[in-house]
Symmetry: C2
Subunit: 329 residues, 2 copies
């Protein structure tokens, strides 16, 4: 019989979902980035849990402070993608026996820093003895019922947009792992891995503008995020202006790497990927710019359920693949 190693993360999640009763009138169906419960007065309590495991999610050069902060950011980013305001987090920590007192303090400080960056608070949690370092965070936010942006609302003709450029984390990780110098672009690339940011202001602004029809964060990679919206909204995409970070272009040129591949399949980036009603495009960009962000139009939603990239005059298929744990192939 297949074991977890062969099944892969997505199949494991599927197996578990099949065992669960469905809540009637669930405001956010299974498989979206967050879960939610109606709490009256047209409000939703929005919740998200995402677990960071030291051995798979933490590069060797990442400090415990950074790892704990990232464990918070991962959760806040999903609330951001839905337009929910993060209020509070809980952190359950699996503590290896050899962790030192100062290590534990670094974790505490990193958790607090991640939450406070977005005006949220760590309100509680739990610790347990464990073989791996595990930081399992859960975030609670509030959202007006009509504002929450699901994955499933994209319509043909909508614009596809992102809150930033892609391709930095894959290189940042390479620089860290191989201890490359990468001169003046090193800081930006390495920071994309060590100090990810959640697009909370942008997500809240988009939700309030009511311009967005679908949204996810790009933590599983741009290609996979497009695939997620495609699947949930039953649409396709034509990406005609892939936003590749200039640092990525530069590094890729020097090291003979494919910047398109890096931007599409990198993963662990936390930009928002959204679809916008064309008539509301100006309102959407203005709303995001007003809070200090940017919204880059990268393509259009198509009827046929496929992911296409137009680049250098050619149109190619984007694979529905991304970052995935477990699978060893």
């Amino acid at each position: 019989m297949a074991s977890a190693k062969d099944l892969g993360e997505r199949k494991i999640i599927e197996l578990i979902l099949e065992c669960l009763d469905h809540m009637p009138d669930n405001p956010v169906p299974f498989g979206d980035d967050v879960s939610a419960v109606e709490i009256g007065h047209d409000k939703l309590a929005v919740i998200k849990a995402d677990m960071l495991v030291g051995k798979t999610d933490v590069p060797r050069t990442m400090s415990l402070w950074q790892a704990a902060r990232k464990a918070v950011i991962m959760n806040i980013s999903d609330l951001a993608a839905k337009g929910a305001q993060p209020l509070a987090l809980l952190a359950s920590i699996g503590v290896p026996q050899d962790l030192k007192e100062t290590d534990i303090q670094q974790i505490g400080k990193g958790l607090n820093a991640g939450a406070r960056e977005y005006n949220a608070y760590i309100l509680g949690g739990d610790t347990n003895e464990a073989s791996d370092l595990v930081i399992s965070c859960m975030a609670l936010g509030i959202c007006n019922k009509g504002h929450l942006i699901k994955r499933s609302g994209a319509k043909r003709g909508d614009y596809v947009a992102a809150t930033g450029a892609f391709g930095k984390t894959a290189i940042g990780l390479k620089i860290l792992m191989e201890n490359l110098s990468a001169q003046e672009i090193r800081g930006e690339l390495v920071n994309s891995v060590l100090m990810p940011k959640a697009r909370v202001k942008e997500g809240m602004a988009l939700a309030q503008s009511k311009a967005a029809t679908a949204s996810v964060d790009s933590s599983d990679g741009l290609a996979w995020s497009l695939h997620e919206i495609s699947r949930a909204s039953n649409v396709g995409f034509l990406i005609d202006k892939l936003p590749i970070a200039p640092e990525t272009e530069k590094f890729a040129k020097i090291h003979n790497l494919n910047p398109v591949e890096l931007a599409l399949y990198g993963g662990e980036e936390y930009e928002l990927l959204v679809t916008i009603k064309p008539d509301f495009w100006q309102e959407a960009t203005r709303a995001v710019e007003k809070v200090g962000g940017t919204l880059i139009r990268i393509g259009v939603v198509t009827e046929e359920k496929q992911l296409l990239l137009k680049s250098d005059g050619k149109t190619i298929f984007i694979d529905a693949r991304g970052w995935e744990h477990f699978k060893t192939d």
Copy 2:
């Protein structure tokens, strides 16, 4: 420098708490059983996270279905103690690579069963590769602001009461570990370990009655739970009628064990331990009985901050100790 092994769970939690900013007007201060956020209209969103780690929390003879169910119950029990209605849970699962497909299904079914027993739903979660089996659950409930029962409200003269008798789990665990027969009392004792129940109806009834001044669940053992209320409310206790389960009395007699020790320091029991305004005693018992539960008066709150037990005409001190992970002494 001290490592996690030497520090113990409570010191680790203290270290982390010291790193955290305090949320202004926090409706439930750090160190209570749950956390909460005001969501308007005099309601609180009540949240709790508690992590189950296979190697420390799951006896060998407990099935994965039972372990997953227990991971849910642990969290629901804390909501119950505060009088909050559980609505939804998230489950982040650390999956060892050798876990089989059917194992994963057992976990999914156990999670679902635990939630549905209390009319809640598993709404989402996350899976990750990990060395240990980790089931990190988080529960969300709703509570009227004025109903939530903290640890800190006990007053001298209040009655101390419990929703059931104590001492079963310590023996149940012994029976499982040593594969003892224990004849006709085996089922009840073993079930206390494998199939713990959360006192949701009782907790909700007590909250609505407004008779309770403080409440915790007894998951860390009766003695430690008394100590927690004592510390938070700045009071003491005189326990004059320790409720020991008849199965515990019987087993203890045969095996020459001390039933008082088993009842005080066993842990992993999920009865509620509450303090009740004496004038409201009848209302409190009636409210709990109406939902099919029982409320047993076990003692009284005293001014002097010490824990005393009157038993067989003698008065002895109850140690402020309970079940604790990490510490190896």
